[in-house]
Structure formats: structure tokens, C-alpha cells
Amino acid sequence: MISWEPPQPQKMASELKRVVPRSKWPHFLQNLDIRRSFPKTYSILGIHSGKPNPAQSAIKNVRSMAETQSNCAVVANGLIKQFGRFAALRGVSGEFAAGGLYVILGDNGAGKTTLLRIIAGLSHLTRGNISVLGNRNIREVRGHIGYMAHPSLLYDEMGGMENLRYFAGLYEIAPRTSKGDSAKLTEERCREVITAVKLDPDLERPVGQYSQGMRQRMSLARALLNDPRLLLLDEPFSNVDARSAKEMAGLLAELRDKEKTLFVVTHQPALLESLADEFVWMEAGKIVKRSPALHTGPQ
């Protein structure tokens, strides 16, 4: 009786090697490593080297992300961001639980702002993947993200309330029940966030005439407008006087207590020392340390 076995490439290759030793192969074949040159073909044939198969690792990554992202606000996996030949992020990975206050520290050029912009969906990744609020398509969760950048993201020629009214329209924060109700709800929400950052909602001056500190606070008010689940703040305390900075830190603590997730990039971590859940140190595009305490330092 003739028995037929499916071809086993690995066995065939070793048999071939036994009959014709590699030293007798043509020169170009001696240097050929099929596993490296044709990884997809190799994977289809079911032959695996000791190295991880990229396709299988990707599936494994997605699975592990799906398992963890349910209680994580942000899950980052090998984030690489290049601007031309300069790599701003060189493989940032990490899971950040929902409801935490994370303080991101590092020197200028460490990649802190780039990381925030990627989480906000403003920058595109060169490689890697990221899940924000349980969704890998950040566009779908934009309504739940608040972003405060270095610049104010406000129109200088318009007043504070005018600015917020416009941005409230983009977020559609008031349900469209009737025109009057919607306008009233928008107005109330704008006043609420301006008051929360300790500014006067009736101030009619254009934002361009505000002091730097006032502009920072108005910028925070804009970021809070949509009552975000994830708040990304880039240098919120810069150019703000000590008392106002403390008040802002208090406001961030209140938000954390309301189960919001906060990422704060700052060079003044002492302000958040007692409030932060974790300090994240970045260096040359990588997360080099994560610690619940500030004084442990980056090394």
C-alpha cells in the first residue's frame, strides 16, 4: 500500500543539505536566507525560525491590546514617529489605566509633545499602533478628548466667550432639542468652564489682549468644553503665576476625582507631586521610567 504524506519543506531542505552540502551550492544561494528574504512565503509554508513571525506577533499584539484596552485609556505599542530623518519617538510602549493622572517629564526634544499629539490624533504614526479610549481609530473618540497645546488654539481677535461658543458648536455639546434650548445650554456650559478656570465670563476683551496666564486658563477652558474623558495638557502651567498654577492643579485634581484620565506634560512636576498617579520620564523618544513617586528620578 502506498501512503502519501504532504510535503514537509523543512524535512526536504535538510535532506537536500545532506545530499548536497551547502559549501557546494552556487555562491548566490549560499548567502541566501529565505527566512529573511521571503518572510511571507516562509510563514505560509508553516516554517518558523526562532525569530517571531511578524504577522503572528501583530495578531498577538492586537489580541493583547483588546484584552487590556477595556480598562485602559491609552495602550501604546511600539510607537515610532519620524520627521524626515529625525525620530521624535523611538518605540514608545505602555498601558495607561483610565482615571489616572500621568505626568510626563523629560528634557526638550524628548518626544513629550509628539506623544500627546499622537494620542490626540493630530500626528500620524510612522510605525506602531495605539488604542485611545478603547478605539484604534482615534477619529471616532475625538469627541471625548480635550487637548490643550503650547499655543492657545484660540482666535486672538475674538473674546473668550465668543471663542468658546464657536468651539462648542464643533463639539455639539448641547443636544439639538430646540434652537433656543440648545443656545442656552451652550451658553451655560461656556460660562461654567470659564468660571471653573477662574476667569470672568463677561470679560469682553479680545483674547489677544489677555495676559499670558489668562490665555493659558482660557485655553484650558476650551479643552474642558466637551467634558472630555481624556484630557491632554501640554505645559498648562507655563507663564502662569504661582497662585494660579496651584488653582489649576487643584482643578486637575478635581477632574481626576471625576474619573477623567489626564496626561500632563510639564516642567513643574512639583505642582502635581501629591496628585499624580504616575510620573513618566521620557528621554530621546523613549519612555525610560515610570514611577508613582517623583523623587525617584529618571535614572
Binding site: R139, G143, I145, L153, E157, G169, L170
Partner: protein, 224 residues
């Protein structure tokens, strides 16, 4: 419904900002005024000659003046990186484009309304054809200029020399529209031929380019 509301809010905001700063409208007015005066001194045409060259002069003046408004459109969004505030919001991209295009349409139309009487006086113009046809020509021609202009101004937004880049991108693509605008205007002014073919060409141009711009704008907005 949401698209309409965001378009309206963004348009109202842009008109309000322009009303306060008058950055674009002042520059456009002075530029067009200079063109009218300089050309009238340079050529000193007869009424018959005026009818033949006025179509070209008017539209070239408006095209160059519109560039000023088009450059301002997005420059305003770059100050304080306000465009990022729009991009980080869940608002779709197209209302922003439509609002900017409508805004530019309003600014350039205001310019045309103010400058046309001056053209008529300086060049002693009188239409020998159907004068009412100048209205659809003005509307369709202005839209042709601003819809492409708004789109290419957004493309050149992140380039280093965007003031130069915009005309370089816009002018070659505007040639069919410009040809239609000039020929139709001349046809109406001289009354020698019908302007219908050129008007139909303008309609087709507007429909095609508005559709293409709307389809591609999200990609342009999300680009880094």
C-alpha cells in the same frame, strides 16, 4: 443638519474676524484700484477697444486681488495653531472647507461690487449684448476662483513660501475658467456672439472642481 450648522458658524466667525481686522478686504480693494487706474492711464482706450479688452482686465484684476484673500483665509487659522483645535474636534472636514470657500466668495463679491462701477467709469463701458448675463458670469466665475483657491491655499498652508506656492498651483488650473470668464464677458460687452457656451463651461468647471475639492479636502486637512 450638523454640516450646515458648522458651516454657518464657521462662516459667521470668519466674516466677523474679517470685519474686525479688515486684513483681506483692504488689501484687495487697494490692489484692484491700482490695477484700474494704472491700466486706464497706460492704454487710454476708446469705447470700442475697451469693450474688447475689459473682460480680460477685469478678471485678471479680480484674480490677483483674490489671491490676497485666499492667502489670508488659512493664515488666520495658523496663528496660535487654531486649526489644531478644529482637527482635534469631532467636526467633519467639509464644513470648514465650505465655510472658507463661501467666506472668500463673499469677500471677492464685495470687491467686485465696489470695483465694477469704477471699471465702467474708467473704461466707458456699455454692454451691447444681454447685460443680465454678466450676473451669472460673475457668480460662476467668482466661485471658480475661490473654490480652487481655497483648496490650494489649504495645500500650500504648510509650505515655507505659501504666498508664492498658491499662485503657482492655482493659475495653471484656473486657465479654463479664466478663459470662459474673459470670453463670456467680452461676448456680452461686444454683443458679437452668444456667451452661453462659455457660461455652460463655467457651470461644468464649478461642478467638477467643487466635487473634487470636497472629496479631497479631508486628506489635505489631516496631512501633517
Amino acid at each position: 443638519m450638523r454640516l450646515f450648522a458648522i458651516t454657518r458658524a464657521t462662516l459667521a466667525k470668519d466674516v466677523r474676524l474679517e470685519w474686525r481686522s479688515k486684513d483681506a478686504i483692504n488689501a484687495m480693494l487697494f490692489f484692484s484700484l491700482l490695477v484700474v487706474v494704472i491700466f486706464s492711464f497706460a492704454f487710454d482706450p476708446t469705447a470700442e477697444e475697451s469693450r474688447r479688452i475689459a473682460g480680460g482686465l477685469i478678471w485678471v484684476a479680480f484674480l490677483f486681488a483674490a489671491i490676497v484673500a485666499l492667502n489670508q483665509t488659512w493664515a488666520r487659522e495658523l496663528r496660535n495653531q487654531v486649526l489644531d483645535a478644529y482637527r482635534v474636534s469631532p467636526a467633519p472636514a467639509n464644513p470648514l472647507f465650505l465655510a472658507k470657500a463661501f467666506g472668500n466668495f463673499v469677500f471677492v463679491s464685495v470687491l467686485e461690487a465696489l470695483m465694477t462701477p469704477l471699471f465702467i467709469i474708467f473704461y466707458k463701458l456699455r454692454a451691447l449684448g444681454n447685460a443680465w448675463e454678466l450676473l451669472p458670469i460673475a457668480v460662476l466665475g467668482t466661485w471658480a476662483l475661490v473654490v480652487n483657491g481655497t483648496f490650494f491655499a489649504a495645500i500650500s498652508l504648510r509650505t515655507r513660501s505659501r504666498e508664492i506656492m498658491l499662485p503657482l498651483l492655482l493659475f495653471p488650473l484656473s486657465i479654463p475658467a479664466l478663459l470662459a470668464m474673459v470670453n463670456s464677458t467680452t461676448a456680452v460687452l461686444t454683443g458679437e456672439e452668444s456667451a452661453r457656451f462659455w457660461i455652460a463651461l463655467l457651470v461644468a468647471y464649478d461642478v467638477v472642481f467643487t466635487t473634487v475639492c470636497l472629496l479631497l479636502f479631508e486628506t489635505v486637512l489631516e496631512a501633517e
